[in-house]
């Protein structure tokens, strides 16, 4: 258990040290971050399968529970492994001019948060880490925060993923309420009962929105291309290899519960399929290398989503394997594109050609990555692509699915050729900087990934037994007979489809300009999702304007309005509850009214009315005293001598205070009311009625248990040494409360003093 906790905690803690260490280490900070990442990777490798509950907010069913199984291990290895390579890559990539302290802090926060997502055993804990990954993604996209595209991309990403996260929180809350627990293991155990509940469908839809936004599925895919404003190491890490796969992680976690749900196949498989087609179709039209990669990531995520949506064990196996492979070849491609960008000063495909002469190693690496993505044999992408095509073929989608899959794969081949062929061959083009090969350090991480790609491609059994097999078992949660992943499956329909996709892609590549022109013609230019987003959030800021309008309607900045809302709502709630619950005022147990008391009450009433009618300052002083002074006498008559004395003193002090301040104030002008007086009168009447009713209700029910009063009366002499019980309560039994009271008085006194002093100082130093 220490390893799992350590793997999550180490990067999170180290993240906060990064800005501090940066002062001493300067450019060497990358090495410190590398050490942290590598240590985390080792901890991840050492983490066994386990379940553990550390109590946290147990009353709400939210605990710090850890659940590590094959599915989490696959992700954890990717997060820590690719994370280590990315940190290594970032050292030469970023150089020493950037604010490295900030960069590595964000990156390590992400690493810890993402490991938290995959290790969480409680869905609420998962949610917390999930949102933390969104926040670190936001910070990293906006790393170059003075750039417009970085601001735009960061805001777009966080709005879409937080929106989805919110939906997901709702889904998790429903799931936890219906299932009776927030623990993953508990939910899995109750899955049959869960599915019987109609509310579970709502939960499923909400959870899917969360997963789709995070994994950039259509129509939420629009944030991912704009997230490319981030430094390339971030794109390689968060926006292709790990964070965008969090949605797939959630899908894998939900699979055992929901894959039999009637909505699962139609929704998940369709969304995945559409995403795959749209992503690959848009990818070929882009000229920016990172944009191509971003949309190809969208497309590949759609492919994996489609596989999990098919709800067969065979498809889940293919999805899991492709998820692993995609992380390797896509991270590699991002790294190579970063090197190209770094060395030539541009990412525009039309400007780049013939780079293989200057950058032979990068060219070879890019070709391995692109070929793997296209599904060329002997590389890992070929294997999982074959399994994908087979799974679609064998699924309920049948021939139609197979045609769509082949078509999308054809586009995939096309953009893979652009990435792996177009920029490297032909005559060298004009680039801003003279191209030259990247440094050795920067080439090491993609080289390691290339080795993994080939190794998995040639010896798939190794990957299967080490990570894929346990991961699939954890997703299925049930024993299933699955074929072993093998290099050669014989002449199958899938092989034919692969050949078609590769051949068709090559054919289209020879006529690339024509194909691109045709594609652009059928792509909508004006009415698309980005335009909708921009209308709502960016150019037109429709949402912001609407929010501002609503806010300004209620938040008028005028005290009266707020008080009307608050007091009116309180009165409505009170009387509404009384009416609904049928509360009656209980029989009153009245004490007799003496003539003096009646007289005093009458004076107080007159004083109150006069106060409201007072037009001069002096009249106000006189009439408020007409309330206060009789009230103190009334206190005396009502057997509260201490109150009477205190009230008299306070009344006198207040009058003195009035006299001191009033010469500086204006006469009481009656400003015309802005809104109708009737509302004010109504609210005042309601509050007055509330006071009367509450008093009468309280009279029937004893608010203070008599034992308390009795205890004070009995022990006042013995424990407090005083006859006056009220005094003993204040200075002895509840002495600390009185100290608080004195503190309030002191603070108020200081505030008064300061306010007056401030004025004098300003007057002395020339009033602004």
């Amino acid at each position: 258990m220490e390893q799992a906790l350590g793997a999550v905690a180490l990067p999170l803690v180290a993240a906060f040290l990064m800005p501090v260490l940066y002062r001493w280490l300067r450019w060497r900070l990358g090495l410190a971050a590398l050490a942290v990442a590598a240590a985390t990777f080792i901890l991840v490798i050492l983490t066994p399968n386990m379940s553990l509950v550390i109590p946290w907010v147990s009353q709400l069913g939210i605990d710090l529970s850890i659940h590590v199984d094959g599915w989490s291990r696959l992700f954890a290895l990717l997060i820590a492994g690719i994370g280590t390579l990315v940190v290594l890559y970032s050292i030469p990539y970023l150089g020493s001019r950037e604010d490295l302290g900030k960069f590595y802090a964000y990156l390590l926060i992400f690493m810890g948060a993402m490991l938290g997502v995959v290790y969480a055993g409680n869905v609420m804990l998962l949610y917390v880490f999930w949102e933390l990954t969104s926040i670190s993604s936001f910070l990293l996209i906006g790393f170059w925060n003075t750039r417009d595209d970085a601001q735009y991309g960061a805001l777009k990403a966080i709005l879409i993923t937080f929106g989805g996260g919110l939906a997901m929180l709702g889904g998790l809350a429903i799931l936890g309420t219906v299932g009776g627990t927030f623990e993953l293991s508990g939910l899995l155990a109750n899955r049959t009962e869960l599915l019987a509940q109609p509310l579970t469908t709502v939960a499923l839809v909400l959870l899917l929105i969360g997963a789709f936004t995070k994994s950039a599925q259509f129509p939420f895919h629009i944030w991912l291309p704009d997230a490319m404003a981030a430094p390339t190491p971030v794109s390689a890490y968060l926006h292709s290899a790990t964070m965008v796969k969090a949605g797939l992680f959630l899908i894998g976690r939900l699979w055992p519960i929901f894959h039999v749900h009637p909505l699962w196949v139609p929704v998940v498989a369709t969304v995945g399929m559409v995403t795959m087609v749209v992503g690959s179709f848009l990818a070929i039209q882009k000229t920016d290398l990172k944009a191509v990669l971003a949309l190809s990531t969208v497309s590949q995520l759609g492919l994996i989503m489609w596989l999990f949506g098919l709800a067969t064990p065979e498809a889940a196996q293919a999805g899991t394997f492709h998820l692993l492979n995609h992380s390797t070849f896509k991270a590699l491609l991002f790294m190579v594109v970063g090197i190209v960008d770094h060395q030539t000063g541009t990412r525009e495909i039309p400007l780049l050609s013939g780079l293989r002469r200057a950058m032979p190693v990068s060219a070879a690496l890019a070709m391995v990555g692109a070929a793997s993505m296209a599904g060329v044999p002997l590389l890992n992408g070929f294997l999982s692509k074959e399994m994908f095509l087979t799974a679609v073929n064998n699924s309920s989608m049948g021939l139609a699915g197979a045609v769509v899959a082949t078509g999308a794969s054809l586009f995939t081949t096309l953009y893979c050729l652009m990435l792996g062929h177009k920029i490297w061959f032909g005559e060298p083009g004009e680039t801003p900087d003279e191209p030259k090969e990247g440094s050795r350090t920067i080439l090491v991480p993609p080289l390691i990934l290339a080795v993994i790609i080939v190794a998995v491609g040639v010896f798939p059994a190794l990957a299967e037994s080490a990570v894929v097999g346990p991961a699939v078992a954890a997703v299925l949660q049930a024993p299933a007979e699955l074929p072993h992943i093998a290099l050669w499956h014989g002449f199958t329909p899938a092989l034919l489809m692969t050949a078609l996709a590769l051949g068709g892609g090559l054919l289209a590549y020879t006529a690339l300009p024509g194909v691109l022109a045709a594609c652009r013609r059928v792509t909508p230019q004006r009415y698309h999702l980005n335009a909708l987003y921009d209308f709502l959030w960016w150019k037109n800021q429709a949402v912001e304007k609407a929010a501002k309008w609503i806010t300004n309607r209620q938040m008028t900045g005028y005290l009266r309005d707020y008080l009307v809302y608050t007091l009116g709502a309180t009165a409505l709630l009170f009387f509404g509850t009384m009416l609904v619950k049928g509360v009656r005022i209980p029989a009153l147990n009245l004490s007799p009214v003496g003539p003096w008391e009646f007289l005093l009450a009458a004076i107080i009433a007159v004083g109150a009315v006069f106060t409201a009618r007072a037009r001069t300052r002096l009249a106000a002083i006189a009439s408020i005293s007409l309330v206060g002074m009789p009230l103190s006498v009334l206190f005396g008559l009502l057997r509260a001598p201490d109150l009477a004395l205190t009230q008299v003193v306070v009344e006198s002090v207040t009058v003195v205070l009035f006299l001191l301040v009033f010469p500086h104030l204006r006469q009481i002008t009656l400003y015309p009311r802005r809104r109708s007086t009737n509302v004010n009168v109504l609210v005042a009447l309601a509050v007055g009625a509330l006071g009367t009713v509450v008093t009468l209700l309280a009279n029937g029910a004893r608010l203070f248990p008599p034992q308390v009063a009795e205890w004070f009366l009995r022990n006042s002499m013995e424990l407090g040494g005083g006859n006056n019980v009220v005094n003993v309560i204040l200075v002895d039994f509840r002495g600390f409360d009185t100290m608080g009271e004195i503190t309030v008085l002191t603070v108020a006194g200081l505030a008064v003093y300061m306010l007056i002093r401030l004025r004098k100082q300003q007057a002395g130093g020339g009033k602004s």
Binding site: L588, F635, R639, T646, V650, G691, T695, V725
Partner: protein, 127 residues
């Protein structure tokens, strides 16, 4: 007596609220004072009124004349509830502190901004 007190409380709170909803700062402070009075009386009434002696132990014979019944009985003598009284005592003092503070605040506001009209003192629109 409780019924009379309840009506008085209603009046004090109602007039206080009415003043609180005004634009003039002095009237608002006066409103808070009336509400304080009303609330204090409400607290006292909630512990029942005149149910016995004032909570002074070892009282003389004079007090006996003012006794009622149904209070907290200790050693055969009925006392009124001392707990609300202790609470109100605190509330009175705090009330004084807030009144003093609001008055000085009103005074300073008039000095700084030259008006005691809350509508005029509104902040800017929300950006």
């Amino acid at each position: 007596m409780e019924l009379l007190a309840a009506l008085l409380i209603g009046l004090l709170l109602g007039v206080g609220t009415y003043l609180l909803l005004e634009r003039n700062m002095i009237r608002i402070v006066l409103g808070t004072m009336l509400i304080t009075y009303g609330t204090n009386l409400m607290l006292l009434t909630s512990g029942r009124l005149k149910t016995g002696r004032a909570p002074l132990l070892g009282g003389s014979d004079i007090q006996t004349a003012a006794e009622g019944g149904g209070g907290i009985v200790v050693d055969g003598i009925s006392y009124v509830d001392p707990v609300p009284q202790a609470l109100i005592l605190t509330a009175i003092v705090i009330g004084l502190a807030t009144t003093a503070f609001s008055f000085v605040l009103a005074y300073r506001t008039v000095q700084e901004y030259g008006t005691d009209d809350l509508l005029e003192l509104r902040g800017v629109e929300h950006e």
